[in-house]
């Protein structure tokens, strides 16, 4: 079980995440929602062990991840929002680097790399450097790198960004299946429809605080809203969206 206990993260005077607590059990898909700047990605970075919280703890199976960081990182698969990759490497070279660093034996690794590349339709780009890859192709490489070692915790930050529709649909199915296998899945995204469909629970963040934590259906029921999008608008958005759209159109037509 992954437990975030009263976690706070500050960047100087700015508090990005403020006393956030939640748990994700094996088999659960936790949808993590929030507008830009609400602290989603900061939470993600703390969850994958890239930075420690200023206050509070993140526990994996009852142990603080900071006390067993290497061991914890070995069980996490992470897809970041920004597809930063070593662009002078080819897809297989990148996956080989990630796989070897995770200690996957060479024979098994090569088989897995071939499988992933073939499934994602990247086998024809075997010798192409990542510099020439589109965003979606790089995202497929990142997804492969995150899943190569069959991790117990999967942290996905905008994983469908740049992916074509069919791959995004495949990913949804894979996420649900991995959860059914007992994986812990943390899914941060702006894609409300996807979150609503695959998450067993949804957390909505606003200005670093958790403002909602329940299943999508319960939240709809509680807020008397027809969709998760409406729930999100009521809880996390405080601007008049129609007014902003009107102003934008005026600027376009000027």
């Amino acid at each position: 079980m992954l437990e975030v206990r009263d976690v706070t993260k500050r960047y100087g005077a700015l508090t990005a995440v403020n006393h956030v607590s939640f748990t994700v059990k094996p088999g659960e898909v936790l949808g993590y929602l929030g507008p830009n700047g609400s602290g989603k990605s900061t939470t993600v970075k703390m969850l994958v062990g890239l930075m420690p919280p200023n206050h509070g703890q993140i526990l994996f199976n009852g142990r603080d991840i900071q006390d067993h960081l290497l061991e914890y990182k070995a069980s996490v698969g992470y897809v970041p929002e920004e597809a930063h990759v070593y662009t002078y490497l080819t897809g297989p070279e990148y996956l080989r680097l990630a796989g070897r660093l995770r200690g996957i034996p060479a024979g098994k690794l090569e088989t897995k790399i071939d499988h992933f590349l073939r499934i994602f339709g990247l086998d024809s780009d075997y010798h192409a450097q990542l510099a020439s890859f589109s965003k979606g192709m790089r995202q497929k490489i990142l997804l492969s790198a995150a899943l190569l070692h069959n991790p117990r915790v999967i942290v996905l930050d905008e994983p469908v960004s740049g992916l074509d529709v069919s791959t995004a649909l495949v990913l949804r199915t894979v996420v649900s299946a991995l959860a059914a296998d007992g994986r812990i899945i943390f899914y941060s995204s702006h894609e409300l429809e996807t979150i609503e469909k695959i998450s067993t629970r949804v957390i909505i963040l606003r200005a670093g605080h958790v403002v909602a934590d329940d299943s999508a259906s319960k939240l709809r029921e509680l807020m008397h809203a027809p969709s998760l999008e409406d729930v999100f608008s009521q809880l996390a958005v405080n601007e008049d969206l129609d007014q902003i759209a009107g102003r934008l159109l005026e600027a376009v037509r000027a």
Partner: protein
Amino acid sequence: MSRLTDAWATWSAMRGDEAVSGFRLLTRTFLRRFFDNEITGGTGDLRNSFFWMLAFLAVPGLTIPVFMTFDWTGYAIVHGPEGLRIASRADKVFYLGYSVVATGLVSAVTWGSLLLDYRDCLVLGTLPVAGQRIVRAKLLALLAYIVIVIVGMHALASMSYGFFLAERAPLTFAWRGIVAHFVASCAASAFVLLTITGAQGLALSVLGARRFSNLSPWMQSSVVVLVLLLLLALPAISTATVDSLASAGGQPLPRNPHVALWILRTPPVWFVGLYEVVLGTNDPVLWRLAFVALAALASAAVVTATSYPLAYRRLVSSVMQAPAPRARHDWLMRAIDGVVSHLGRRPAIGAAATFLALTLRRSMPHRLAFALALGFTMAMVSPTLFEWAPRLSDLPAVPTVELLSIPFRLLLGVLLGVRVAAALPSDLPSGWMLNSIGISSRQMRSGLWRLMFLTALCVVASVTPVYAFLWGATLALRHAALCLVFAVLLIEALLWGFDAMPCSRPWHPERANIRKWWPAYLVGFALVTRGLPALELDLLPVWTDLATFAAVLTAAALTLRVLHYRRRPVPEEDPDELVHVQVLNLD
């Protein structure tokens, strides 16, 4: 710079001449690319550092005449202005050689920007701009870049040389001297830049984009090695200039002259001919040299101008036919990957080594750093090679300090190059992947250690057959064994304090603390290049003495390793990792 070009573009737009301002905007964009290349990283600080580099290169030219003023004045008093003019040709050649070296290094730094590249074709190919226009804009930008570089480097030096070399001569001679120095040094620098650009353009036109991308790193490394060799040979060229010119002109020479006629075939001496012709001379040798200089400059310009459109056409057609640049999956990379991936029982050790090998092969700053190290190595080794190359049949049948020192020098230069390359970050934002994976820093160090040892093994293996041929297998193998033991000690010393994935951390050159430790580095260098081979020469005949010495070196290496781990216990969490996290800029 950019403010000036911005103002230029704005002014053009205000005139309403959109076509002209579009062309200028394109030229300006290309011009900026010379300062925003892969090595400068496109950051403001590094762009500024490019101009600092130009200023740094300009300083010697400004200050050398000041330091030489007493010598020159004394010479002018004794031999008159004409005597000083002839004698100062050595100093002029030195400056022109320095210009060639400095410009060569600048060209190596801006290597990827000298031609239109794949990115230009992709970006500009979508816009309604004719190819001819793009080529013209790039050529104009190249011209502007050359003017910026050469004027920045030579303007003040020309004033300084012209003024100080006109000792006891009329003022008009000083003016002519300033012009002559400016013309000759600018022509020498332009020759280097145009030759390198022309060679690139020609190679791309003839070989096509894919083969050129394979050849380009070798060409870049060769340029670095060549200019460093010229730097090494410069004192010899400079010393031999006056007597060699006199000898070529059939003039009587003083006793023990320094004549080396081969120097007349080197660019710095060609351009000293141009220098003297502009200054005013009837000497046919100098006129001939001036002609060679101008012909070389014109040829380089013609090759550049003609190859540019052809190169662009080849590039465009390669983008259309094969849009994805292929990795250089050649035999060398396959061999390297095949060996280094099996360097450690643990896959992570092989991964660290492979990653560094791939980065060295494909990342331009790393390649350049390694090429500089190779140039430095060649500079250390070439005096011995130059000395013995013409007398291959007279090579000594017994070991000498000079010949024994060659592999030690090679190891020092090459391993230093690998270590510096490992310390240079390749792409910090992408380091998130390494940080998000639970990897042991000890394994990363181990990967680098083994790659360095493999490199050392290759160096020793390549020279041992030569020694076996010269002195027999027994002595050659003893020497090879000692070299490898020395390599182990050197690797431990170079990896002191290093506990991370290669190329994944911000660069901290200040940690070498050269200001404080330079005497130690100097002593270490002298020990490696002279002391160690001299000691080996004494120990080589008796294998037990040599084995004892090797055991001492091994013990020193082990002590270094133990001290390293005691001094820096391997941290579970890297304190630098926030650097990578912050550049992700996810929020």
